[in-house]
C-alpha cells in the first residue's frame, strides 16, 4: 500500500504523518510512506487544503488531521 502525505511542512502535516503511520502499524499493513512537499506535485492531486493523505493514488483526506481510529477505517 502506498501512502503519500501532501503538505508544505506545517505542524499539521507532521501530525497527519504520525497519525497515519500509527494507524497503518496497528493494522499491520505493508506500506510505503512518502512525504510530498513540492507544490507542483501537490497541485497535481488537486489538493487545495493541506495536509492531505493520498492512498494508492487516491486523495482520502484533505485539510484536516483525522484521529487514528478514523484513519484506520480509511486504510482498512
Amino acid at each position: 500500500m502506498k501512502l503519500q502525505i501532501l503538505g508544505t511542512g506545517c505542524a499539521k502535516c507532521n501530525a497527519l504523518t504520525m497519525a497515519t503511520e500509527k494507524a497503518a502499524q496497528t493494522l499491520g499493513l505493508q506500506y510505503e510512506l512518502e512525504k510530498i512537499t513540492d507544490l507542483n506535485r501537490i497541485m497535481a492531486f488537486g489538493v487545495m487544503m493541506t495536509p492531505a493523505l493520498v492512498v494508492d493514488g487516491k486523495v482520502k483526506v484533505s485539510g484536516k488531521v483525522p484521529s487514528v481510529d478514523e484513519l484506520k477505517k480509511l486504510l482498512a
Binding site: T8, C10, K12, L39, N40, I42, M43, A44, F45, G46, V47, M48, M49, T50, A52, K58, V59, K60, V61, S62, G63, K64
Partner: protein
C-alpha cells in the same frame, strides 16, 4: 422569548431515533450554556467586590470585574459559534467553491467569491495551494483575490463577537463593509490586469481533480463542529485572554475620553494611522475584539476602531510572506495597497456619518 423547536420539526424528527437523541443533547447543552452565560455578570460582581473585597469604582476593581466578566463570556460565545460554523462549513469545501467560481465573469464573480469566502473553510496556511488551484482552473485573478480578502476578514468569529458585544448594527456594518472591500479590491486587481505579476511557474502548474466527495451524515457533521472547537478555541483562547487583559487595563486605568484625542473623530489622520498600526499586528478576530471594545468605551471613534480591526485581521505580514511564493512583489504591494485603501475609506465613511 419562548425557547424550543417548532412543533413541525419535532414531528419530523420524532421518526428517527438517532435524530431525537442529538436534538435532546443539543437542547440540553444550549440550556446549560444559556444558564452559565446569564450568571456571568452577577458572578463577576460577587467575585470582584465580595470575594476579593475591592472597592467599587476603583481602577483595580473595574479592571478585575471587566476581566472576570469578559473572559468566560467571550470564550462561551466563541465556543458556541465555532461549533455552529464548523457544522455549516462541513457543507462547503474549497473544491465546491472553485467549481462555482470557475469561469465566472468578473463583477458577478467578485460578489460570489466574497460571499463564499465567509462559509468556505480557509486557513492562511493553505493560501498558496488554494491560490494556485483557483487561478489554474479558470477562476479570474481578481475573483480569486475577492475570496482571499473576504475569507479571513469577514469571518464568523468576528461577526458573532461583534454581535454579542456591540449589537447587530455594528456586526451588520462590519459584514457589509467587509464584503464591499473584498469585492472592490478584487475588482480593482482584476481591472489592473496583473496576471503577469503572478510568479511564472504558477500558471504552468497542472492542477488535478481531487475527486474527494465525502458523504457526511449528521453525527459526522456534529463531530466536525467539535473538531472546529478543539482546533480554533484551543488555538486562540490564550490570545483572547491577553486581548481581554489589555482591554481590562484600558477599561480600568485609561481615563474616560482619553482616546477621543488620538482616536476620535476630529483627528483625520487617526484612520490611516490605525490601518498602518494594524498591519504588523497579527491577531485573530477573537483576540482583537476585547481591545476594540475597550477603545470604543474610552471615546475612540467607531470608524477608526473598525479600520484598526479590519487591518489587523485582513492584512498581515505572515500572509504576505506566504503569498510571496506565488506573487511578485508588485502584486503583493498592490493587494495590500488596495485593501488598505478600502479599509481607510470605510473608516472615514463611518466617522463621517456616525
Amino acid at each position: 422569548m419562548r425557547q424550543g423547536p417548532p412543533v413541525g420539526l419535532v414531528a419530523v424528527l420524532a421518526g428517527k431515533p438517532g435524530w431525537r437523541k442529538h436534538l435532546l443533547w443539543g437542547c440540553a447543552g444550549l440550556v446549560c450554556w444559556w444558564l452559565i452565560y446569564r450568571s456571568l455578570a452577577p458572578f463577576a460582581m460577587w467575585f470582584t467586590y465580595s470575594l476579593c473585597g475591592l472597592a467599587k469604582e476603583s481602577h483595580l476593581g473595574t479592571a478585575v470585574e471587566f476581566f472576570v466578566f469578559e473572559s468566560p463570556k467571550v470564550l462561551l460565545l466563541l465556543t458556541l459559534i465555532v461549533f455552529g460554523v464548523g457544522i455549516v462549513r462541513s457543507f462547503f469545501t474549497p473544491e465546491r467553491t472553485r467549481r462555482i467560481l470557475s469561469g465566472r465573469r468578473e463583477s458577478v464573480g467578485n460578489v460570489l467569491a466574497a460571499l463564499l469566502g465567509i462559509v468556505t473553510p480557509f486557513c492562511s496556511c493553505s493560501a498558496v495551494p488554494l491560490f494556485i488551484g483557483f487561478v489554474t482552473t479558470g477562476v479570474p485573478l481578481g475573483v480569486t483575490f475577492s475570496f482571499l480578502v473576504s475569507a479571513p476578514m469577514v469571518n464568523e468569529v468576528a461577526l458573532v463577537l461583534l454581535f454579542g458585544l456591540f449589537g447587530w448594527k455594528v456586526a451588520g456594518l462590519y459584514l457589509v463593509t467587509g464584503l464591499i472591500i473584498a469585492i472592490f479590491s478584487g475588482w480593482v486587481i482584476g481591472r489592473l490586469r496583473m496576471e503577469k505579476h503572478v510568479e511564472d511557474w504558477v500558471y504552468a502548474t497542472k492542477t488535478g481533480e481531487a475527486g474527494l466527495e465525502e458523504k457526511l451524515d449528521w453525527p459526522a457533521r456534529i463531530r466536525a463542529g467539535w473538531e472546529a472547537v478543539k482546533n480554533i478555541v484551543g488555538r486562540v483562547w490564550f490570545y483572547v485572554l491577553i486581548g481581554i487583559a489589555v482591554g481590562a487595563g484600558i477599561h480600568g486605568y485609561v481615563p474616560e475620553n482619553f482616546m477621543a484625542s488620538i482616536m476620535g473623530k476630529s483627528a483625520w489622520w487617526s484612520v490611516p494611522l490605525a490601518v498602518l498600526l494594524g498591519v504588523p499586528m497579527y491577531s485573530n478576530a477573537a483576540g482583537i475584539i476585547p481591545v476594540v471594545q475597550a477603545l470604543l468605551g474610552k471615546g475612540a471613534a467607531l470608524g477608526t476602531v473598525l479600520a484598526f480591526m479590519m487591518s489587523v485581521i485582513a492584512l498581515s505580514l505572515p500572509e504576505a510572506i506566504i503569498l510571496r511564493k506565488v506573487l511578485k512583489p508588485r502584486l503583493i504591494a498592490t493587494f495590500f495597497g488596495v485593501v488598505a485603501l478600502g479599509i481607510m475609506l470605510v473608516g472615514h465613511l463611518f466617522n463621517w456619518i456616525m
